[in-house]
């Protein structure tokens, strides 16, 4: 272990744990609520402002997908589970909507089942988060799991 300022040493010892749950209606006006709640929750960890912005984009994409693709016909509930586990941020966005037939296919960049959509949502999530998983069952619903670790911390424990 190299010499480090004491603050970094402390960070290696104190591990944070916390969790919260947000449930919203699949209304477009709630996309902002979801990303602000997620970013506020995340700010307990040592994320930079730029990382917090990335988290906002990822959550925005996941929630937008639930609204547009998950519940295309009627309003439904979207569940956002937020967790800090050992200084790691874990976000799960779940809908009980139509689900995805071919998960492999939708993971291709630029793939979209809607003509006027860019098919970039999942690619953004993949770029902005450290880990990303898409699980879905037709007529049951879809869950996106995303993990992000503050880069500062990554460096500190190198």
């Amino acid at each position: 272990m190299k010499d480090k300022p004491w603050r970094m040493l402390i960070k290696e010892v104190i591990t944070l744990n916390n969790q919260a749950h947000l449930t919203i209606l699949s209304k477009s006006s709630n996309v902002g609520l979801a990303r602000i709640t997620a970013a506020t929750f995340a700010s307990e960890l040592d994320f930079t402002l730029s990382e917090l912005e990335e988290i906002k984009v990822a959550v925005s994409e996941a929630v937008t997908n639930c609204i547009i693709h998950g519940y295309p016909f009627e309003e439904g509930l979207i569940d956002i589970s937020l967790k800090i586990d050992n200084n790691k941020l874990i976000i799960k966005v779940t809908d009980k909507g139509v689900g995805i037939e071919d998960v492999e296919a939708v993971l291709q960049p630029s793939y979209s089942t809607k003509d006027d959509h860019m098919g970039l949502g999942l690619a953004f999530i993949d770029s902005f988060m450290d880990e990303f998983k898409l699980e879905s069952e037709v007529n049951k619903g879809t869950t996106v799991t995303m993990v992000k670790i503050p880069q500062q911390l990554n460096h500190a424990v190198e």
Binding site: S28, V31, T64, I67, M118, L120, F124
Partner: protein
């Protein structure tokens, strides 16, 4: 999302304020289409100074305008992208087809003289 517009020659200059996501995109599209059609404008200059958030829904709306105007010989210019907004544009590859400027004046000059051609 607040939009304030002004016309300069055959360009519409739009000052955007707030967040551009699926919730605000309909308002964004509507206002821009209405203003441009009413005055038969060709180019669109978007000033992002007051925009602190954009996601792929926002980008999609801008790309839509870009494609529509391009077919008609018009351009879309981007002004004052904040770092976090620029990151999203870059990742989507949109800065390869649209030009970014530091101020409206320069953008206007460029689109007027039939300026930038990135493709």
């Amino acid at each position: 999302m607040d939009l304030s517009t002004k016309i300069a020659g055959d360009s519409l200059i739009v000052k955007l304020r707030g967040e551009l996501d699926m919730h605000t995109v309909p308002q964004f599209k509507e206002k821009i289409v209405e203003k441009m059609e009413k005055s038969n404008l060709k180019n669109l200059i978007l000033n992002f100074k007051g925009v602190k958030f954009i996601d792929s829904s926002g980008l999609g709306a801008i790309l839509g305008r870009y494609r529509y105007l391009k077919k008609r010989g018009g351009k879309v210019a981007l002004v004052n992208l904040k770092p976090q907004v620029k990151k999203v544009f870059t990742l989507a590859g949109l800065l390869k087809i649209m030009q970014e400027y530091d101020d409206e004046g320069q953008a206007l000059e460029d689109v007027n003289k039939g300026g930038y051609n990135l493709e």
